[in-house]
């Protein structure tokens, strides 16, 4: 009962003529590129997790050799006798955050789901610029190889933190890292081109390639959030890249943009970094908000509560994200009046965030809730994002931030946003769209077990960090026991570390489920979740070109449990009965 327009230039016909290399390696198909991003970024996620485990080993068991004789595979410059050296610890915290932010979460959000969902949800056959899309992916492993190589050069990998504050980052004199810091800069400069080219594609595709009837307010929230995120990427990444180039010049040819000894201004780096850095936070969370909106509406069989306000909230968060960067710098000596204005703009972000949160709850309210794995992850996202958001309000207040700045309270806050928020949102997204990607369902038992242990271990690991921060434990500290007043926190640190080990270990269940289900999972069919979006109107997995015929959109994406309908869902492309056979002109009711 769907309506569609025949596709003139069918991609499906030439699908089998491309050969292995062009189909699976240098593919221009957005779905294959999404899978390439998925595999690559999950590998980097695993690497980042291993680095996190090593960080927690040092904090939980300071001065003790790494377990399972892991120290034997590390050189003496990193961990002689298996004992992590402080300078290697600096590299661990720097590279953990770098891999997680730039090589795991960003590609998972934008690279995987931007590629997978945008063309499918708007009814396009591919991205606007497929070759640029391919380039966008292949830049990523090149940048990743450069970043990985930095572990193996003299002095080791960058150790100035992922924020790379000047002057710590301008000279190896402070960290003992010379080439490693340069490779860090080069890698991120290269990676920036991946983000920019990808974002360019997403923006163009959404604007220019929507199917007939796909008006702006019929676009699913996942694509809305990815579209807004793409704008953030387009505007933010060049700022970071510019700053990185200036820092690279300071490092290599002796310029002094940020070096005080050459009359440079270290604070300028902080301004540049955080002018990129705070929009970056929303780059890492907005897509997850979109995924969660989709999952919650679908699994509670209800329309998204306040669809229009959800869209406005996404745009508002993205806009406000540009005027709050100073809240990262309350301790930099800025004028208190300026600090107060940053404090005000930051607190204002709570408004659209609260709109979204209440709308998610409103969507769930009295819904026919299906407690399967995607929903469990999505609801966890909401709960944990609220905790991360509330601790953000504490930090947005300059007087409180002065006390909590650079303590473990910050570490707790950012992990509640980026793990509790982003990562659980990604898990919701992967488990929800896995059948569309691979044509099979993930195993529910394994999925729920993975979710349950992850959720418990995650909270046991990160919630106590708030208290560590309030007690004064500094972030990035190698051994808190060096300070007498922190020695009493060692038992908490050990407990946190054990919880992190459980959290990291249980991700193996996800990996097993991910790969096992590809072969053994139950066949999914085209629309296993009884969903409305256009991505469910094509086969699972979709063929090259996605749709045999261009779908025509008749309504919004969240028409669940519509009164009077036999089915509790109403696909966007299903023609209304009254117009069936009479016209292909899309209608604008209900839920535009």
């Amino acid at each position: 009962m769907s309506s569609a327009i025949p596709v003139g230039d069918s991609h499906s016909e030439d699908h089998h003529d491309l050969g292995f290399i062009r189909t699976y390696i240098f593919s221009t198909d957005h779905k294959m590129i999404a899978k390439q991003f998925l595999v690559t970024s999950l590998l980097f996620l695993a690497l980042g997790g291993m680095l996190a485990a090593m960080i927690r080993w040092q904090l939980g068991f300071p001065g003790q050799p790494l377990p399972f004789n892991l120290g034997a595979i590390l050189p003496d410059t990193m961990a002689p006798g298996g004992i992590i050296l402080p300078e290697f610890y600096n590299s661990l915290v720097t590279m953990h955050a770098t891999f997680m932010v730039f090589f795991a979460l960003m590609p998972l959000m934008a690279g995987v789901f931007g590629n997978l969902l945008i063309p499918l949800q708007i009814g396009a056959d591919d991205m606007a610029f497929p070759r640029i899309n391919m380039l966008s992916f292949w830049i990523t492993p090149v940048a990743g190889a450069i970043m990985l190589a930095s572990f193996f050069v003299e002095g080791g990998a960058a150790g100035a933190g992922w924020t790379s504050y000047a002057p710590l980052s301008t000279s190896g004199e402070w960290t003992g890292v010379y080439l490693g810091q340069i490779l860090w800069l080069v890698s991120l400069i290269v990676l920036g081109f991946s983000s920019i080219t990808g974002a360019l594609n997403y923006v163009t595709t959404v604007i220019a390639m929507r199917a007939p009837g796909m008006t702006w307010f019929r676009i699913p929230l996942a694509t809305w959030s990815l579209f807004v995120t793409a704008w953030l990427l387009l505007l933010a990444i060049p700022i970071l890249t510019g700053g990185l180039i200036l820092l690279l010049l300071d490092q290599t040819i002796g310029t002094a943009f940020f070096r005080p000894e050459g009359s440079g201004e270290p604070l300028m780096w902080q301004h540049i970094f955080w002018f990129f850095g705070h929009p970056e936070v929303y780059i890492l969370i907005l897509p997850a908000m979109g995924f969660v909106s989709e999952v919650i509406a679908n699994r509670s069989r209800k329309p998204v509560f306040g669809y229009h306000s959800m869209v406005v909230a996404i745009v508002a968060i993205a806009f406000l994200g540009w005027v709050v960067w100073g809240h990262h710098m309350f301790q930099s000596g800025m004028n208190p009046f300026l600090g107060m204005s940053f404090m005000a703009t930051t607190v204002v972000i709570a408004v659209p965030s609260a709109i979204k949160t209440f709308n998610w709850i409103g969507t769930l309210w009295k819904g026919d809730i299906h407690f399967d794995t995607p929903l469990l992850h999505a609801v966890s996202f909401v709960a944990l994002f609220v905790i991360g958001g509330l601790s953000g309000i504490f930090l947005a207040s300059a007087p409180v931030d002065i006390y909590l700045h650079d303590t473990y309270f910050i570490v707790a806050h950012l992990h509640y946003v980026l793990v509790g928020g982003s990562l659980f949102g990604i898990f919701a997204g992967i488990t929800f769209w896995y059948p569309k990607m691979f044509g099979r369902m993930m195993n529910e038992t394994l999925g729920k077990l993975h979710w349950g242990v992850s959720f418990i271990a995650y909270n046991l690991a990160f919630f106590p960090m708030h208290n560590l921060g309030v007690q004064g434990m500094m972030r990035r500290i190698y051994d808190p026991n060096q300070y007498e007043f922190l020695q009493s926190l060692q038992s908490t640190n050990t407990f946190i570390s054990k919880s992190v080990f459980v959290f990291v270990s249980v991700q193996v269940l996800f990996a097993i489920n991910f790969f096992w289900s590809m072969r053994k999972g139950k066949k999914a069919g085209d629309n296993p979740w009884d969903s409305n979006g256009l991505e469910w109107a094509c086969p699972s997995p979709p063929p090259h070109g996605n749709f045999a015929e261009i779908p025509i959109v008749h309504r919004g994406p969240y028409e669940y449990s519509y009164p009077g309908r036999e089915q509790d869902f109403w696909p966007q492309n299903e023609a209304p009965v009254e117009s069936f056979g009479a016209s292909t002109k899309p209608e604008h009711k209900p839920g535009e």
Binding site: G144, A149, M518
Partner: protein, 289 residues
Amino acid sequence: MLVLKKIEKLAAFTLVGSLLMVGCGGADSSDSAGSSSAASEATAMENPVDPSTAGNIVGSVAFEGSAPAMDAIDMSGESVCANKHSGTPMVQTVVVNDNGTLSNVFVYVKEGSAIDGMQFPTPSAALLDQDGCVYSPHVMGVMVDQEITIRNSDGLLHNINATPTEQRGFNSSQPVTMETSQDFGTPEVMIPLRCDVHGWMTAYIGVLTHPYHSVSDGSGDFSLSTLPEGDYVVEAWHEQYGTQSQTVTVTAGGTADVTFTFSADMANAVVPMGTPVDLHDHSLVTDQQ
């Protein structure tokens, strides 16, 4: 199924590719490993000086005036270190011996045409220990590329932050009882070292292209042995009282006696740090007469 298999191939390809890229990073080639090898080769080199025609310089460093009182080090936060000291540990900036001489003065040949151009074998590793939260020795000399074994005998976190001016420094840490190796590739007098964890821990290392250096001991004595006959500018360096130089003539089989005298009045002297050593520079031969 075909698609699944191909996806698996893709996953495997990506994994293998990533591992290969990691592998291409290459193995760690630390300076110390490289210089160890260079040191072994150099050790095999013969000393170019004929002992039968060589002479020696011996002497002492006298101190005039009242010995300044050094501050006591508060080690109460590091009981492990505090227990290693029988008395109250004192700052080692100025150590005046009971016989009125000065310890920790670095004495070395600054200029000397007789050794100009000579290649000397690199000695075996020198030891810099951290014991009782102080560096031992407080002042030392090494040759270019000579391995310096840095030992942590305390079993608690120390870092060794070397800040030379003529070459790249290092800032390495030792969280437990352990040893690491470092070396310097460029002559420089002196290179300051400090521990950022224990602010009182400082040391100085002089790096030379030749083995003619010594540090005045607990009796204020020093000696430079097996020098080819000729004229030398010998400099004495102290971390608070600055430098003094003397021209010394060494004869075959002879021993030249030299005395340097520092006084309490020199407390505000300019202390050169990070000075490159160039045996070709003979200007001081006349300046210091």
